[in-house]
């Protein structure tokens, strides 16, 4: 039965959408900024998968090239984000996102 089924690019895309949604949810429910960054990584990975799957569907290499740039951006974001965490943890005992609420109103 499975033999009749073909894996189309949409499968990947739906998986990608699911991964993106999981990442987004994680960012909303986790308090540890490091885990929140990881969730952003999940979201970016989901986009990567979309790019590659679209490229596959279109028969186009540009999708794969785009992934390179996403990778660079992800790396740069992580570096800066982690530096921020380091800087803040120098000054505060706890580093959860909920503690950052001096500024409000």
């Amino acid at each position: 039965m499975l033999a009749a089924v073909e894996v189309t690019s949409n499968w990947y895309l739906i998986l990608s959408a699911a991964l993106f949604a999981v990442g987004a949810m994680g960012l909303l429910i986790r308090r540890n900024p490091l885990v929140m960054f990881m969730c952003v990584e999940l979201m970016l990975n989901a986009v990567n998968l979309s790019f590659v799957a679209f490229g596959d569907r279109l028969g186009d290499i540009a999708g794969q090239v785009s992934v390179f740039f996403v990778l660079v951006v992800a790396a740069a974001e992580v570096v800066v984000g982690l530096a921020l965490v380091v800087a803040i943890s120098r000054r505060r005992a706890t580093t959860t996102a909920d503690d950052l609420s001096v500024l409000r109103g």
């Binding site: 979201m43 921020l84 800087a87």
Partner: protein, 532 residues
């Protein structure tokens, strides 16, 4: 080794032609920043003002290199083109915004020098990041490809995240940086996903290709494309601080170092709108009936929420943050028109707003005192006594933000509203005007505080109509010491003042430029294609 390589028959990659002059402004800004970083790490003994001056000079150079390009682009025979395999758009639009961003960088650098000294922070990196961020903004202005646009956005943003958290001795600054970063990364992911979907729907990330494709193809199922629109708008809406993507704005504006806020409100906003216009107004023009209502709603929400929330603030930086949200609403009013008139009105607005907001935050930088401590409205009581120059300048900037005639703000608002009415969005124009009236209350409140309250000579119970405002009745008036305005800030504020007033009386020149800066999407120019 070499001979070994030579044996392998490698077909050389046919790299695209480069129209080098087009890249000069960007190169001045970015390479200038990198060089400065190099020199800063070698020449540690130099006084910190050197870096400020260098940044100002490089920004000025960026703006100056635009002039010949502008002549070239307005010359009809050799007008807009694209280069580097169509990923860089060369038209009046990109040049206009390049100049706005260059001014934003330069003026911010002028404000930063004394700020860094006052706060006891280490210098050159701020300028490097500022210039890099400016380069990112310029890339966005030039971007003719979604991937390039995304990279520009990230360059711009990541630098600003760091700048916002730059005041390492202020917890608020770090909190601001962290919040901005988390939300920025979150919205960037949406933006990127949008690009992916649009790529999937159209088969390209290049705006020219996308437009060409859409103009010859009718999509039987455009859900994917439209979902891409939605997700891209999330990212761009976040950058320009449109409601409901505005939440970061007040917190970040309040916590971040004030000169950086000046840059955020001018440069970042300009770059964000550049992207919105080039992508939506220009590339997806065909689909405007789909996205216009969204911009409409975002504009209305931003206009109303921005001005209503600003009124209840007591922290002046926060207040200006909300007012910047409302300004984003105004600019969206021009975007929503999706006409040439709307676009030129938006450009005018961006240019005018850049100067008035940098001026405003420039005043706050100086008046804020050490650690940006004096931020509440009460601290501004009687500013006119302590520094007439600052009080006068802030008054003009606030009048301009309120859209009082004889300031650039008036023509800016006039332009976008008339564009909206011209595009038959009558109610949007009306809402914009209501928001302007509400805004007038807001700015007046600050002005009244500066000029009339905080007088030691008489009692402070001044028969103010009840409930009008709760300012001015505090007995402990902020110190009455004179404020020294540093030279750099004097120049920056003076320049913003000059632009706001002179072009407020005589808006013709900027308006002319804005009109010639309507963006175009063109294939590589014939000269570039066949010239070589």
């Amino acid at each position: 080794m070499l001979s070994l390589l030579a044996q392998i028959d490698i077909e050389p990659i046919d790299t695209p032609d480069v129209d080098w002059p087009v890249l000069v402004p960007l190169l001045v800004m970015s390479v200038g920043g990198i060089l400065m970083l190099t020199f800063a790490s070698i020449l540690k003994r130099l006084p910190s003002s050197v870096w400020s001056i260098a940044t100002v000079l490089l920004s000025a150079a960026t703006a100056i290199t635009v002039i010949p390009l502008w002549m070239r682009v307005t010359d009809t025979a050799n007008s807009a083109s694209s280069t580097l395999a169509g990923s860089v758009a060369f038209d009046g639009f990109s040049l206009f915004l390049t100049v706005v961003i260059a001014f934003a960088v330069g003026l911010t650098a002028l404000l930063s020098d004394d700020y860094l000294k006052r706060e006891g922070l280490e210098g050159p990196e701020l300028y490097v990041l500022l210039m890099m961020s400016g380069a990112g903004g310029i890339i966005m202005a030039f971007a003719n490809d979604l991937i390039v646009l995304f990279l520009g956005l990230e360059i711009l943003s990541i630098a600003v995240y760091v700048l916002a958290a730059m005041h390492v001795r202020k917890l608020q600054s770090q909190e601001a940086g962290m919040k901005y970063f988390i939300l920025g990364a979150f919205s960037s992911a949406f933006f990127l996903y949008g690009i992916a979907l649009i790529y999937g729907a159209t088969g390209s990330t290049n705006l020219i290709d996308i437009k060409n494709f859409l103009s010859v193809t009718v999509l039987a199922d455009d859900a994917l494309l439209l979902a891409g629109f939605a997700l891209m708008l999330v990212g761009l809406g976040f950058k320009v601080a449109a409601v409901p993507f505005h939440f970061w704005t007040p917190d970040v504006y309040q916590g971040a170092p004030t000169p950086v806020v000046a840059y955020m409100a001018s440069g970042v906003k300009a770059a964000g709108f550049a992207a919105i216009i080039r992508v939506f107004v220009l590339t997806f023009e065909q689909y405007r009936t789909d996205w216009q209502p969204v911009i409409y709603v975002l504009a209305v929400l931003s206009l109303l929420l921005g001005s209503f929330l600003a009124i209840v603030q007591t922290d002046i930086k926060r207040m200006l943050a909300y007012s910047s949200i409302s300004h984003a609403g105004f600019i969206l009013v021009g975007v929503q028109a999706a006409t040439d008139r709307g676009t030129s009105a938006v450009l005018f607005y961006l240019a005018a707003y850049a100067f008035m907001v940098i001026g405003s935050f420039g005043v706050l930088t100086v008046a804020g005192g050490k650690g940006d401590a004096a931020q509440s409205l009460e601290d501004y009581q009687g500013l006119s006594k302590r520094s007439p120059f600052l009080a006068f300048a802030l008054m003009v900037f606030l009048f301009s933000q309120a859209g009082v005639p004889l300031t650039t703000g008036f023509f800016a608002k006039f332009g976008v509203i008339s564009a909206a009415i011209d595009a038959r969005s009558f109610w949007l124009g009306v809402i914009a005007m209501i928001s302007a009236v509400v805004g007038a209350f807001l700015y007046l409140r600050v002005i009244v505080t500066m000029f009339f309250a905080g007088d030691d000579d008489h009692d402070s119970d001044d028969g103010e109509s009840a409930g009008q405002d709760d300012i001015g009745d505090d007995a402990d008036v902020a110190s009455t010491d004179k404020i020294d305005v540093p030279l750099g800030a004097q120049i920056a504020i003076g320049m913003c003042l000059l632009v706001t007033v002179v072009f407020g009386i005589w808006p013709g020149p900027i308006d002319d430029l804005a009109r010639e800066a309507i963006p175009r999407l063109v294939q590589e120019s014939p000269a570039a294609l066949f010239g070589n």
